[in-house]
């Protein structure tokens, strides 16, 4: 929890990692990719305050102790959601797997939610594995990486019939939250990783699932916003938005937040630190203190204490069924976190 000016904030870090990426983990022949990937992540850390930068060595192989200190002891987080990223073509034991995350989670009961993942190209075997992971780790969410390379294929889309099978399986298994990476950089050639239209289709066809678009489709938030405003079950995952922009580009951050609050709304935005890219501490402190920097932003929705409480924890707590102690909850008048109401259409200026 975080307390400031007499206000108490329940913190859910809904997008973070426990990876291993040192040279000893690189697949022979794929070293350049493995190295390029982790260096790319490390470059993102450079967008945070200098005092929070790590050496590349620590960044590749941060420890359990680092994580527990940075996230819980110093970082105010009440519950953290692991979002796996496999990349097994480049990293021998996977970059950041369900098993590795869950093993850490089991040592610290109540601190973590271990999400799993799937890839429709894994067919029946993948469906079996998904069921096993849900049974073993109680996963209520998955992280999907549509741009992941696999045996010569460089990506897939949620429109694929094979992906629909997995989405159906999610519903049957009780998985509620589908986190999809739609964000900066990364390869695909003709399968455009930034294209959010596949989420539009899936969200319409699976109204009982929540689709949390991590990194809100950055760099192209316009496509995401036009889509999310029409789909009540599409959420904005703020990983990278706060970490990548709040410190490095404060004015752009204000505009991006204003746009998201306008098109998507405060009930459908969730905080994610993206640890170990960025530590949660400075992001939470900065966001609680944050407001639009000038009158230039007067026609964007206002940012209230309730807005921040929802974004920093209450919305994600609702999505994941996390019990929030009464002292952190909002008064009834402040609205319902994670409410699935259609975004209001633009009123005339």
């Amino acid at each position: 929890m975080y307390e400031k000016d007499g206000e108490k904030y329940f913190i859910v870090d809904s997008h973070m990692h426990y990876w291993q990426a040192g040279p000893e983990t690189w697949v022979p022949g794929a070293e350049n990719y493995a190295k390029g990937w982790i260096e790319c992540f490390h470059a993102y850390q450079g967008l945070g305050p200098p005092a929070t930068h790590w050496s590349i060595e620590k960044f590749m192989s941060y420890t359990e102790d680092d994580l527990m200190k940075d996230v819980f002891q110093d970082g105010y987080v009440d519950v953290a959601v692991f979002q796996p990223t496999y990349l097994t073509e480049w990293y021998k034991d996977g970059f950041n797997t369900t098993e590795r995350n869950a093993a850490l989670g089991e040592k610290h009961p109540g601190k973590f939610i271990a999400n799993t993942r799937w890839d429709p190209r894994e067919g029946e075997d993948g469906l079996k594995k998904l069921a096993e992971n849900v049974e073993r780790y109680g996963s209520k969410g998955v992280k999907l990486y549509t741009a992941e390379w696999r045996e010569g294929s460089r990506g897939w889309t949620l429109k694929d019939p094979a992906a629909y099978k997995y989405l159906e399986a999610c519903q049957e298994l009780g998985i509620k939250n589908i986190h999809v990476h739609k964000g900066p950089t990364i390869w695909p050639l003709d399968k455009d990783a930034f294209d959010v239209s596949d989420i539009d289709h899936a969200a319409t066809d699976f109204p009982e699932l929540n689709f949390i678009v991590e990194h809100v489709g950055l760099p192209r938030i316009e496509d995401f916003c036009f889509m999310a405003t029409q789909e009540p079950n599409v959420y904005a995952g703020l990983s990278v938005v706060i970490g990548g922009l709040m410190h490095a580009r404060p004015k752009f951050f204000a505009k991006v937040m204003g746009e998201l609050l306008f098109w998507v709304g405060e009930d459908k935005m969730t905080f994610g630190s993206d640890y170990g890219i960025w530590e949660p501490k400075w992001q939470i402190e900065g966001f609680v203190d944050w407001d639009y920097p000038s009158d230039e932003f007067s026609d964007y929705p206002r940012v209230t204490t309730a807005t921040k409480k929802k974004i920093l924890g209450l919305n994600a707590a609702k999505l994941y069924g996390i019990d929030v102690p009464a002292e952190y909850q909002l008064p009834a008048a402040a609205g319902t976190p994670a409410a699935r109401e259609d975004a209001a259409l633009v009123e005339s200026q």
Binding site: A43, F194, L218
Partner: protein, 226 residues
């Protein structure tokens, strides 16, 4: 002296998404012209994994631009430090086209991509031109009635006209200020507020993206913007 002219030519090459010259973005690592007319240009991008479709466009455009400089007999444009550098460099040198360069992986040539991002540039440019007009008290109906010729001259207006021309949209003095970037149809009174909202969002997105790319490039190469 000769480098300057190469840089002039490279200054005409834009990142198709960020809509800024690659020289301004810091993507040109070096450019030199030998007395014999050999131009050697090295490009660099913010990350090892920047999307190869955009990378290909920039390398190909740089090759075309450099080839037209006076005194250049042979041009070599090389992208460094990128996972698809070999395929891109060889493809551009052989003028093979994107699909041939990524045999079995790419389906479409890049014209659609370019058009898509030019449309975004037009929307973002519309915000840039309209913001001062809105601040001066113009109503949606006023804006819907304005022609390009009636808007006070500014670099932003110039740029908007150039982008519209590139897309084949009307860009003369009599053309409406507000047009749908896909169809070229004038935007009616009632549709103006949402059109402006979309224009502003598109510009925000583009600016945020540019900020991230520049930050990444600085971190990777330890350089300031040029």
């Amino acid at each position: 002296m000769s480098t300057r002219t190469l840089l002039d030519a490279l200054g005409e090459v834009r990142d198709p998404e960020l809509d800024e010259p690659i020289t301004v973005l810091g993507f040109v690592a070096s450019a030199s012209l030998s007395p014999d007319g050999d131009a050697a240009v090295h490009l660099r991008l913010p990350t090892y994994f920047c999307a190869p479709n955009f990378a290909y466009l920039m390398v190909a455009d740089a090759y075309d631009a450099v080839s037209t400089v006076d005194g250049v007999r042979r041009a070599e444009v090389v992208l460094d430090d990128h996972f698809a550098a070999d395929a891109i460099n060889e493809g551009v040198a052989a003028r093979a086209g994107f699909v041939a360069s990524f045999e079995g992986e790419a389906v479409d040539e890049l014209d659609n991509l370019r058009v898509n991002f030019l449309r975004k540039a037009v929307l973002a440019g519309t915000d840039l031109v309209c913001r001062p007009l809105v601040e001066a008290g113009k109503s949606p109906a006023d804006l819907a009635a304005l022609t390009l010729g009636e808007v006070p001259w500014s670099p932003a207006l110039d740029r908007l006209r150039r982008r519209r021309t590139e897309l084949g949209l009307p860009a003369g003095d009599a053309a409406p200020l507000l047009v749908d970037p896909a169809s070229g149809a004038a935007v009616g009174d009632a549709a103006v507020p949402l059109h402006l909202r979309k224009a502003r969002l598109t510009r925000t997105s583009l600016d945020a993206n540019t900020g991230i790319c520049r930050g990444m490039l600085r971190h990777r190469y330890g350089v300031e913007d040029q």
